[in-house]
Symmetry: C2
Subunit: 480 residues, 2 copies
């Protein structure tokens, strides 16, 4: 790496140390905030060095704050070495999930738009250290993030000390792709002037008091993203039903021809469903979401999407090289913002977002479980889904109608954990069809969901349950 | 009533008809939107005339949209005469509740900030008729609302035809107390320029195309508000704990000395708790809420509150005459806005609101039931509580620790209907104390709630349940 190009400020360049030296800044009981949102743009070398310290028998327990999930160098390795004691606001790593479900790590799901607010409000106490990944530090000491922004701007601003990992595996061409806008605390908060996904309202870098920079570490470890599952028949069917639903909305005059900006949850099903739009006749679409997956690039390549805004760029390992070779053709089509902006209720409501998030299970009255199997076993977490679902113009949930290779129904009489309740779920789509719940009372919602979303092999069971509930229930509003 | 003063536009004055004639504009299957938010500012004469038509045997079934609950002239009488077939988004009338629970009226809880958005999006189809109460119609045909704004501005704008009830029981001095700001639909939505509760951003009237005004009816029926229950010892204790909590937040630097703007739920408990602030040493407080009850006037009178913004002024029958005699001293201290603004996520997040809403029951993991007894019997509805709880700076829920004269615990192992889930409930206060759930995983939340909020006579039972759940549960994150 040509260090002088990556770190243009001489005083800061003098702070370059080994990952081990930087990791020595971490001590027991610290609250540490790191960059990263999904396995994109998170620090890698310092967490690895920290894991090494723990492996050698040092007792270090930290509270870890991130944007969302991060890569295995943090969530797996710092779990296995017992460094992480408390973890907010989201994760999707097996080792960590097991540790949380074993009661070893304390975890709380926090809406992703809330986390930066809570940090600023001091709900986690002082932030001892921020560790952020950068593509570049310029002459003025400004920090240019990499493949995500997440909470980095807030972490750098609030932390007592800052460690920067300058990662040469992240191309310099990422510089300029970010739009950093800081929201002041009340009563000084001003309206956020964003009225379209493609609008720039901030600066392409994170400002940082150079005095606070305690160490800089040079790395060349790529983001540990995972391949996306190939689009399967089920996802294609869900996408087909969704496109049909959106067409109807346009025909009825409830949406413009290019729809409202689209938000899509993270993961293979959401990715596949979004990919389905490539075969639709929609054009000039906008994406305003938290994560850009491969499908969004497909939609841009296909001329369907004019612009996509998010807080994270999480491409598959196969897709990243292609993206970087052609980054100039995407430069005026994508933008990464802090998660406080990508997930902000103000912007989500203003844009009238079409929110599409995935469910583990949905019940016949329209409640959705996104987080806990059987109400007790944590899967990943609520993430940003409720930021979007709660404030969107229309809130859609996607799920296959069955789970466990068809052994169980994803449409159930009552979900075992309520993450999105009947008040905030407007449409449910499965490979069987679409239930449009807007303006329906619970009884008609149940009929709509059973009729249109349940798998044929579970339909009669659900009908029978619902019939009996209606018969036996003293109260006919929500018959139980 | 001096009609020329109340209706200054001659062409509109010529549209004055009897309530019976206006009620004849209603026909079967219409979608009708009326003014009113709580029993304040709702039309009275035309609904009564409509009830008379039904009593005489006419078959009229309507879908009724309101701001929130309205007075008995609508919710009771049009239920008992079977005129209301579908009802959104909130109610609190016994006759109507019984009809909903009997399955006779279709009802769906809709977040109050969503309703105007859904109306504009066309989710209820065309609005056939708007019936709104006014204090005055001026020379230009502008409509000046009375004791609430609610959805009136949206209803007048969207409805095919408009009926105005000019009510001389509502003093002309109400003119000027409103601030009407219309939010355009996406993609034309602009940032709402409101940055403080006392800021005016709109106009004091609702504009209306005079061509759409189908009838004007003169009435003199007062709002049918109800007395507030006297402050009891339990409410005083809840208020005491809440004040202590707020003091701690100020001491820790997490809130300024005059706090952030306060939102308070509707009803006697919320009213009593807010009244408790009269005896606190907080000063220069602001209220940004949906309803102003007697307690807010107490706080203004006591010099505690500098300004209060809401969408409805719902004073007790005893308090209204005093308020009207002294309205000039309140004129620069209160303001009524459309519910789209009072409950807007953009403003709630921007102001960092302290949201205080009431719970029917809360569970040990922090989920709150606000709507359904036993998960099946509707009480009132979710109202605006989730607008505030979900987007506030801090979300507090209040409940007595027991219900049914102490026979049952309001703190339970698992709520039977989830209106506010563990992700959106940060503080729970009962007369026993305050549970501060911020940054705690489910297990520590359970201990905090049992320790601080449960009634002593139910505490050992809850401890025993929780102990056993921890012992037997395979998964220790949320032990079931």
């Amino acid at each position: 790496m040509q260090t002088s190009q990556r770190i243009q400020n001489r005083a800061i360049a003098e702070k370059v140390v080994s990952a081990e030296t930087a990791a020595a800044l971490v001590s027991d009981n610290m609250v540490i905030a790191v960059s990263g949102f999904t396995p994109a743009g998170y620090p890698k070398a310092v967490p690895q060095a920290l894991a090494e310290r723990a492996k050698k028998g040092e007792k270090i327990g930290i509270t870890l704050l991130t944007g969302a999930s991060v890569g295995p160098e943090i969530d797996r390795d710092l779990t296995e070495t017992h460094v992480i004691k408390r973890r907010f606001p989201y994760q999707n790593n097996k080792a960590m999930r097991d540790a949380i479900n074993a009661g070893v790590i304390e975890f709380a799901d926090i809406h992703l738009s809330h986390l930066p607010v809570w940090m600023k409000n001091g709900y986690f106490g002082d932030i001892d250290l921020a560790i952020v990944e950068a593509a570049q530090v310029d002459e003025e000491g400004r920090i240019y993030p990499t493949t995500s922004v997440g909470i980095s701007n807030v972490a750098v601003r609030l932390a007592k000390r800052v460690v920067i990992e300058v990662n040469s595996a992240q191309p310099l061409s990422l510089v300029g792709i970010h739009d950093i806008y800081d929201v002041e605390k009340p009563p000084l908060t001003q309206p956020i002037p964003l009225t379209a996904p493609n609008q720039r309202i901030g600066l392409p870098y994170i400002s940082c008091d150079p005095e606070k920079i305690a160490a800089v570490v040079l790395t060349d470890i790529p983001d540990s993203t995972v391949p996306v599952a190939p689009v399967d028949e089920t996802s294609e069917k869900i996408a087909g039903h969704l496109i049909e639903f959106l067409h109807k909305e346009v025909s009825a005059g409830r949406l413009p021809r290019n729809l409202h900006p689209l938000q899509s949850g993270v993961g293979s099903v959401a990715n596949a469903v979004l990919s389905g739009l490539v075969r639709s006749d929609f054009e000039h679409l906008f994406v305003y979401s938290e994560v850009l997956q491969d499908s969004v690039l497909d939609l841009i390549d296909a001329g369907k999407v004019d612009f996509a805004s998010a807080t994270s760029l999480t491409l598959s390992p196969e897709r990243f090289p292609y993206f970087y070779r052609n980054i100039d053709q995407y430069r005026d089509k994508i933008l990464l913002r802090p998660q406080e902006i990508s997930n902000h209720p103000e912007i989500i409501r203003r844009l009238g977002l079409i929110a599409m998030n995935t469910a583990i299970e949905a019940d016949i009255y329209g409640n959705v479980n996104s987080t806990h199997i059987g109400g007790t076993r944590l899967m990943n977490g609520i993430g940003g889904s409720a930021d979007f679902a709660r404030n969107a113009g229309i809130s859609i949930f996607l799920t296959e109608s069955t789970a466990k290779d068809g052994l169980v129904s994803s449409i159930v009489p009552a979900v075992t954990h309520v993450d999105h309740n009947e008040h905030s779920v407007q449409v449910i789509a499965t490979e069987q069809g679409v239930a449009d719940l807007r303006g329906l009372g619970p009884v008609r919602r149940a009929r709509e969901i059973i009729d249109h979303c349940a798998h044929p092999k579970f339909k009669s069971m659900l009908e029978s349950y619902f019939y009996q509930a209606c018969e036996r229930s003293k109260y006919k509003h929500i018959p139980l």
